[in-house]
Symmetry: C2
Subunit: 218 residues, 2 copies
């Protein structure tokens, strides 16, 4: 098993790459991990020596096959823990990320299996993010954000960005949680905000909020 830093670097690279598609720059990774640029260059060389990633100076890093495996393993553990904390310990979806961020690094294969079994092998985490399989397969679901919906459409909330606890807290307060069914009442072009209907109430969502909620046609 690898240590906390290694796993967080590899996971970070995987996630940044999913967003940009290209090689991940050391400075983007530094920002993501909240460490200095020089520290990343340093660490990235060591991870490259361990064959977890390919590093081309001034060009950025990409994960090797082994690296992707490790990313999958870490993400799987993270999301299983999030799910477990919600279902079995009464956490709400805005409280689990931090905990899972630490637990993911001290989870044996045995524990991973037992978490999975206790949850009935869930396919998504509390934020709607897919959980990689035991074998490391991850099918990314591509859902449009509320900001990209058509007026009058009816949708199911399929995923919510887990970036900020505040967004999650706010949505919880509104009642807009996973799998809730909403209708798009009005798209306000001017600032990208959206008015949705849920439970017979009209809810106003800022443009930023709308871009953090992902839906599926209902």
């Amino acid at each position: 098993m690898q240590n906390q830093s290694t796993e967080d670097y590899i996971k970070g690279i995987y996630q940044l790459r999913r967003r940009t598609g290209a090689a991940v720059s050391t400075s983007d990774l530094a920002r993501h991990l909240k460490v200095g640029d020089g520290s990343v260059t340093d660490m990235v060389k060591r991870l490259s020596a361990k064959k977890l990633l390919n590093y081309v100076p001034y060009k950025g890093v990409t994960l090797t096959e082994v690296g992707v495996k490790l990313a999958m393993k870490t993400i799987r553990r993270h999301r299983l823990w999030e799910m477990f904390l919600v279902r079995h310990l009464g956490y709400s979806w805005d409280e689990v990320h931090e905990e899972a961020e630490r637990l993911e690094h001290v989870t044996s294969l045995e524990l991973e299996e037992r978490l999975d079994r206790a949850l009935g092998s869930p396919s998504v985490d509390p934020h709607g993010d897919p959980i990689p399989t035991r074998e490391g397969e991850l099918k990314e679901l591509i859902h449009p954000s509320v900001a990209e919906c058509r007026e009058g459409g009816r949708y199911r909330i399929a995923r919510v960005s887990d970036e900020s606890p505040e967004v999650l807290q706010y949505l919880k307060k509104l009642g807009l949680t996973l799998n809730k069914r909403i209708a798009i009442k009005q798209m306000i072009k001017f600032d990208g905000s959206v008015i949705v209907e849920w439970n017979k109430r009209e809810i106003f969502l800022s443009g930023l909020m709308a871009r953090n909620i992902f839906v599926e046609e209902a």
Copy 2:
């Protein structure tokens, strides 16, 4: 919160001290933690600077009040996790120590509270060891070992040494788990072994085994 090494050192000191009563020598601690003697001297100086313990060269270490608090917190988390893994994830008592040894260091106060609540504030762990309270109070229960029992006596198994997984596995196979009621059939002076009766069967326990099972008069 402290890091893994710090917590394991402090916990180790607490546990060694409970057994011997006196200040803990650096070499005993080194053996316990499986690190070199010199490493312990090194670390112990740092922990002393942090006011977690008092270190007198050549005399050994004792925990400060703050140190004892940290030991209690760590032991509480360890034992709550052991209990949780057994009750909620189907682990058996010989499989939980290693897992808890890592989980104890990444457990927030919030998580500690939720584990405790989910378990109904248990007073002992799966091995019969008492769980410190939220406030850090620990009442050590003093039970005689089977090796110290009187022939013909009837007892309840109150605690089992969690030192070795083998002992625990063996006892599990025999069916001699916590709270089981046994009768002492014969104490064999020659080698300290004991024959006990449980569930209408006679079970032979080696001297070493007998010294690792602790009981309460029934």
